[in-house]
């Protein structure tokens, strides 16, 4: 079907939302509650556009295109409506960007910047302050919550846990667990998928301080189970300080508690840092050269006397393909035995 967006005609497939059509046409529409993996909820009202022939602006995330529709995304009224929406949110939002972990990666901050909304002009009552810090991996701060509902929908529709919901109405509305018993006492499985979708600083990981502009992200494969989720390691200096799920991968933007939060072993002080050789029952630090020479000496002692088949190696399902390949090559080609196995049966 044909539609016109901002004066230009496009051919669009049936069953497409205006938001998707705009995205395909390269037109950026601001959203806070939208996630293409979830059913639309039209709660943030930021994606408003004008459709000629309708009285009020419509939410583009939940309005399907019709043939010959004429859409305006940049008209004065649309811009004003979006500013009003941001103004309403900001009026009820603590202006703590200077100390907020989310600063630099906050959609509310970005849109306020884009639309020039510096301050909320609606003075008066503020939302109920409520925090839930009971989970060991992340916190919820209701003052910063914009009630977009993304966390609730991800927990329900994608993770399938439904640990949280929105309770009460108006200024009293908060994201909470049934009977307010706290996240740690709820069905929550600490997957952190709510934290990953929060567009503001309401759900935030308990993590080392870092600013988004001083880190780098490296896409890699999770090292826990065999699903092979893709994720970004967030690195500050020479330390992994956070993990974010990849959306364009088989895990579809989801991770579990281990992938999302169990990364602190990487820089743990217990890590082995030098080779160790046991002398008289005690480990002594050694250089790599000493360790390799010691192993070589033993190989040269044992192999002539007992043969290559007196050697055996356990390679590892935890290591890379390249490493497993070299391990079996070491045993087969260098030592001369097929006594290579690994923990596939565990």
């Amino acid at each position: 079907m044909n539609i016109t967006i901002d004066g230009i005609q496009y051919e669009i497939k049936k069953n497409t939302t205006i938001l998707q059509a705009c995205k395909d046409a390269g037109i950026n529409i601001p959203t806070l509650c939208h996630d293409e993996r979830l059913n639309p909820s039209s709660s943030c009202r930021l994606c408003l556009v004008e459709v000629e022939g309708t009285k009020n602006p419509v939410t583009s995330c939940s309005t399907m295109v019709r043939d010959n529709m004429v859409v305006n995304t940049k008209s004065k009224d649309v811009i004003k409506a979006r500013k009003d929406v941001l103004n309403l949110i900001i009026s009820n939002h603590p202006m703590e960007c200077l100390t907020c972990d989310k600063s630099g990666n906050c959609k509310l901050q970005d849109y306020s910047y884009e639309y020039g909304v510096a301050e909320g002009t609606f003075k008066g009552a503020k939302r109920t302050p409520k925090t839930d810090t009971s989970n060991p991996f992340y916190d919820y701060d209701a003052r910063k919550c914009i009630l977009c509902g993304l966390c609730v929908r991800v927990c329900d529709e994608l993770q399938g846990t439904a640990a949280i919901g929105i309770e009460n109405r108006g200024f009293d509305a908060v994201v909470t667990t049934p009977y307010n018993e706290g996240l740690i006492n709820s069905k929550c499985v600490s997957c952190g998928n709510c934290v990953s979708v929060c567009p503001v600083g309401a759900l935030s990981p308990k993590r080392q301080k870092y600013r988004y502009w001083e880190n780098k992200k490296i896409r890699t494969t999770c090292s826990y189970c065999g699903v092979g989720c893709q994720m970004d390691l967030v690195v500050k200096g020479d330390k992994v300080v956070d993990v974010e799920p990849a959306k364009d991968a088989l895990n579809n933007g989801l991770l579990c508690v281990k992938g999302k939060f169990a990364y602190k072993f990487i820089n743990h002080p217990d890590r082995l840092k030098t080779p160790l050789i046991k002398i008289n029952g005690r480990f002594e630090e050694a250089t790599w050269d000493e360790a390799y020479r010691y192993i070589r000496k033993k190989v040269n002692e044992l192999k002539p006397e007992y043969g290559a088949d007196s050697f055996a190696g356990l390679t590892s399902a935890r290591c890379t393909n390249e490493e497993n390949y070299l391990f079996q090559k070491l045993f087969r080609a260098v030592i001369g035995t097929n006594n290579v196995d690994h923990c596939a049966r565990l």
């Binding site: 060991p136 090292s223 890590r271 082995l272 590892s316 890379t320 080609a333 006594n339 596939a344 049966r345």
Partner: protein, 526 residues
């Protein structure tokens, strides 16, 4: 997996057996729950009433060790009611008559008796599976870690072929692999009879190919599996043991035996990222870099080869495992040098037909699923399309046989083990994450309320568990999800380690230990 993770979304029916998917493969578990919402049917068979049971159309709480009887019972119903795919069997399979011969003895009533479930539930499960157009079977160690594990896997394959579910999208036989790269370790020849790509060491043409590539003489004699290696140390035939990234002092069955082996071996090298319970026994410990500190690839449960990328420098003087192995090879007189793991992958793809088209450039975004025989091949979403890899699908029916160790008056409980969501394997990594330890701090045993009351055990009591191989103390957790006369323990914890109790009896073909069934007794600790 014969099929892919994303195909779960469009399946008509899922049969999950011996897999606590939401805890052990949480992202696949989430996808299964999404599929149920989209209208897929779900059958769950597990000795514990796991989370997925709440979503199931039928849940079978079978006795540990009775999978084959259940699978045979379901096939009996499918045969009796004509729910099998005759055309598919005629065109693509063989040995159907023998299947019918054996399966006819497994009426749902007989199977129900063996499994301790209701025959109506077996009929219901079989009907759901048999009537579905696309049905996938998903399983893990609850099926394989038995002395009859191989036969159980073949029975799963029988069921899938009976209903034409192999070589079809959103169906298949789908073992969910437990470790990040257990698929890759097998693919790369980390097995005693297999060179990379499952090319057999006892085939002269294979040996010749690798001898030419590596320019050395190779042994055509299949090597030893882990249980055989440990027994070899015990009897003095194995003198030198090299363990990389593995912690058998917690993860392997019958830890007292493992301990004896590690103490007894002439020379032990352990290469790991932490001082593990196993490394304590080493003569030399080599510090390895973690996954965040190196480049490489992992192959996931759906055969997808994906990149691992270096994010930080190796900690301390640790080195990536590939570098350690290469340097050691060089010290031992083998001069080959690799400048980067990418160069190792080039060698792998030149020698491994299923990885023939895998290059770092090609897998950069999203990875590729093997078989990928050449550089123009897109990879393989699901296996056996149009025809089985071996030609015709071979039905391999198996009789139900009891587990090696059954409960008796001295050891009256069936003891079974597994993993929990919060920990990974032997906790070398997760055990060093504060929040994880806050939620899951220590070892426990799940016991049914009826048994607990009979023994005067309350929730949180310290209890003593004894098997023929060892004894441990742990904490009792009274749980409704576990059946009467069955005890479950997570095996992650070194303190109160479940594997002091487990049985190292193995499956004769796969040499996998019967970690899922041992006989124990339980009493209050003094």
């Amino acid at each position: 997996m014969t099929n892919s993770i994303e195909e779960i979304t469009d399946t008509d029916a899922m049969f999950v057996i011996g897999s606590n998917t939401t805890e052990n493969h949480p992202i696949i578990g989430a996808r299964m729950k999404q599929a149920v919402r989209n209208g897929s049917k779900l059958i769950v068979a597990d000795p514990r009433r796991i989370e997925l049971a709440d979503y199931a159309d039928v849940y079978l709480q079978l006795k540990p060790g009775t999978n084959i009887a259940l699978l045979n019972g379901m096939m009996n119903v499918i045969l009796e009611n004509g729910l099998y795919d005759k055309k598919y069997i005629d065109e693509r399979c063989e040995n159907f008559d023998e299947l019918v011969n054996i399966i006819k003895e497994y009426t749902p009533e007989r199977a129900a008796e063996i499994c301790g479930v209701k025959s109506e539930d077996i009929i219901k499960a079989a009907t759901i599976y048999g009537e579905a157009d696309k049905a996938g079977i998903y399983y893990t160690m609850g099926v394989t870690q038995h002395t009859t594990g191989t036969n159980a896997v073949m029975s799963i394959s029988n069921l899938a072929m009976l209903c034409g579910n192999i070589g079809k999208e959103s169906a298949g036989v789908n073992p969910l692999r437990g470790q990040n790269n257990v698929q890759g370790a097998c693919d790369m020849g980390g097995l005693p009879a297999d060179l990379p790509g499952y090319q057999k060491v006892f085939k002269p043409e294979v040996i010749e190919k690798f001898e030419n590539a590596w320019r050395v003489k190779l042994s055509p004699k299949p090597g030893l599996t882990i249980p055989e290696i440990f027994n070899g140390v015990h009897d003095g035939s194995i003198k030198f043991l090299y363990i990389m990234g593995e912690n058998p002092m917690v993860s392997d069955p019958d830890i007292n035996h493992v301990k004896e082996v590690l103490e007894h071996v002439d020379f032990l090298v352990v290469q790991d990222i932490f001082m593990t319970e196993t490394a304590e026994y080493a003569d030399v410990v080599l510090p390895a870099a973690s996954f965040a500190e190196k480049d490489g690839t992992f192959s996931n449960t759906e055969r997808r080869v994906q990149r691992v990328r270096k994010a930080i420098q190796p900690v301390g003087e640790s080195k990536p495992d590939w570098q350690i192995l290469m340097e050691l090879m060089n010290y031992l007189g083998f001069e080959k040098k690799y400048l980067h793991p990418e160069k190792i992958m080039e060698e792998i793809s030149s020698l491994t037909p299923s990885y023939g088209g895998i290059t770092y450039d090609r897998i950069n975004n999203g990875g590729i699923q093997w078989p990928c025989p050449d550089k123009h091949h897109p990879g393989t979403k699901y296996l056996h399309k149009g025809m089985m890899a071996r030609g015709r699908g071979l039905f391999m029916p198996a009789e139900y046989v009891e587990s090696a160790e059954m409960p008796d008056s001295e050891y009256p409980y069936i003891f079974t083990t597994g993993r929990i969501l919060y920990h990974y394997h032997t906790r070398t990594m997760t055990g060093r994450v504060e929040g994880i330890n806050e939620i899951a701090p220590s070892s426990y045993v799940e016991i049914n309320e009826v048994n607990a009351n009979k023994l005067g055990i309350r929730n949180g009591d310290r209890v003593k568990l004894t098997s023929r191989r060892g004894q441990i103390e742990t904490t009792a957790k009274i749980s409704e999800i576990i059946d009467e006369n069955v005890l479950f323990m997570p095996f992650h914890f070194a303190d109160g380690a479940a594997n002091y109790l487990t049985n190292s009896a193995t499956d004769p073909i796969a040499k996998i230990s019967e970690l899922k069934v041992a006989a124990v007794r339980i009493e209050k600790a003094k």
